[in-house]
């Protein structure tokens, strides 16, 4: 992939979006059969499943905590999800993303309700297009709710960044690779509480503040879609009854 000459043309991005616009996205609750809860998310060309098992007994037992559940997250990319085949198994990047995913979700959990047990969250990226961790968090959040696990609220996530001096919403692959800055954020939108914040690149103070606002707007839009997905799943269940 060669670097494009420009990443912004006449105020529009290479995929035709305005700087403030999210990519098309799709959120489905209950997308898998076996898991206690699950979700499928597309954000642009990202395709991601999340599955939740638990609360269930922890193995091995000495990893359990006496006064709360352990939340375990595993972010994984399918070997065919990226341009150069990814060797199966965890690497340093996926271990870090698994950690920040867990920390993005923990603020909405009531882990103290389930001492000695574990809640497992598995994120599988089938097709990657920049922002896989945010898509994974969006899916995981819905999957947790779909599993019927009590939560304070949903967590919503999007990356903002900077492309040729413009702060933009929800980077896609070319922007991620050739842009200046990438800042994935997760929030509890109604509380404006930020649960994930990472940043690589360059922001002045002003850009940074604007980026936080922009991310907040993006998360709110995704939050609505997450709720809608859960509502649809619930309605379908009701109809089936």
């Amino acid at each position: 992939m060669d670097k494009p000459e420009k990443l912004m043309i006449d105020g529009k991005r290479l995929d035709g979006r305005s700087p403030e616009e999210l990519r098309p996205f799709k959120i489905v609750a209950g997308a898998l059969e076996r898991a206690d809860g699950s979700a499928y998310v597309e954000m642009g060309n990202n395709k991601v499943f999340a599955a939740v098992y638990g609360p269930r007994e922890m193995h091995p037992r000495h990893h359990a905590l006496p006064d709360q559940a352990v939340l375990r997250c595993r972010y994984n990319m399918a070997p065919f999800s990226v341009d150069d085949r990814k060797k199966p198994g965890p690497n340093r990047r996926s271990i870090e993303i698994s950690k920040v995913t867990r920390e993005a979700l923990e603020p909405v959990m009531f882990l103290e309700l389930y001492p000695r047990s574990v809640i497992d969250v598995f994120v599988e990226v089938l097709q990657a297009d920049a922002g896989t961790r945010t898509a994974g968090i969006n899916a995981a959040s819905v999957a947790l709710a779909d599993a019927g696990i009590p939560m304070k609220d949903l967590v919503s996530s999007v990356a903002v960044g900077k492309v040729e001096e413009t702060v933009v919403m929800d980077l896609f692959k070319e922007e991620d690779q050739w842009g200046t800055t990438d800042m994935p954020i997760a929030m509890i939108p109604r509380k404006k509480a930020i649960t994930l914040l990472q940043m690589d690149g360059h922001f002045t103070e002003e850009e940074f503040k604007y980026a936080l606002d922009l991310a907040s707007r993006g998360c709110t839009q995704i939050y609505e879609a997450q709720r809608q997905a859960l509502k649809e799943k619930y309605t379908m269940r009701k109809e089936e009854e």
Binding site: L32, E33, R34, A35, S38, N45, K47, F49, A50, A51, Y53, R56, H59, R74, N76, A78, P79, F80, S81, V82, D83, D84, R85, P88, G89, D120, F122, E124, L126, Q127, A128
Partner: protein, 254 residues
């Protein structure tokens, strides 16, 4: 740790099968609903999703330049991997692939390799130096039994989805796929043979036999599994069942 099914349920399933019936009403030689979808993953050169009942497998194929094996300098390379994702079953664990996943990948590999499904000799860029490697990666997303048949079908479906590349070094008009092998696993429960076991049926099976056949009904690979045994007549009967079912499944490849 296997998933635990109560003894009562196990006995019920097994005694039904002995009477030629199944808990979900299927005939002994009947598959659950099978769907095959292709061209799902842009980052792969070919992809397919197979669902058999609640079992759900996604396969992506990637072609990459690499070195040939030293003993086959004039052949492309075929590599099949599989991940029994922990999301697919409460009993699948995080970690390196265990024997079940390894056997799955190797049986799928053998069906494709031994049927000469892919004309690997055409995938040479420079003899002894550079060839195309065909990576077939199996992602098991939901496990409700019969993973071998689902994975083998998804693998061959994903191969039919591979188009000619637009990369330097690729000179073929299309991907050289010559044969569509199909795996059918026949399972023995209480002396009866059934196809397409659901997970709870797998938990009561004595033995299984996977038979991979090609379009002319000949056999290109087999694999017996589990702690039981087969009589010769059962194996011959399994072959007849497998070639019939393979013909049905092959139609789904389009």
């Amino acid at each position: 740790m296997a998933e635990i099914v109560s003894r009562v349920k196990r006995d019920y399933i097994a005694s039904l099968i002995q009477q030629g019936k199944r808990a979900d009403g299927r005939a002994t030689d009947q598959f659950r609903e099978v769907s095959v979808e292709k061209d799902l993953i842009k980052t792969a050169d070919g992809s397919a999703r197979v669902k058999i009942g609640k079992t759900h497998v996604l396969v992506g194929v990637k072609l990459q330049k690499g070195e040939p094996f030293p003993d086959t300098p004039d052949s492309g390379v075929l590599i099949v991997g599989s991940e029994l994702l922990p999301m697919a079953s409460p009993t699948f664990e995080v970690g390196p692939p265990r024997e079940e996943a390894i056997e799955l990948a190797r049986v799928v590999d053998r069906g494709i390799r031994e049927s000469e499904s892919i004309d690997l000799d055409k995938l040479v860029i420079k003899s002894g130096e550079e060839v195309w490697s065909v990576f077939i990666d199996i992602d098991v997303l939901d496990h409700d039994g019969n993973l071998i048949d689902a994975s083998a079908l998804a693998a061959i479906a994903a191969l039919t989805d591979v188009k000619a590349l637009k990369e330097e070094g690729w000179t073929l008009p299309e991907f050289p796929l010559k044969e569509k092998p199909v795996a059918v696993t026949v399972v023995k429960v209480n002396g009866k043979l059934i196809v397409d076991p659901k997970l709870d049926e797998e938990q009561v099976m004595d033995a299984r036999l996977t038979i991979v056949t090609t379009e002319d009904d000949s056999i290109c690979a087999m694999q017996k599994g589990c702690a039981g045994s087969f009589q010769k007549e059962e194996i011959e009967q399994a072959y007849v069942i497998a070639r019939g079912k393979a013909a049905e499944l092959r139609k789904l490849l389009g």
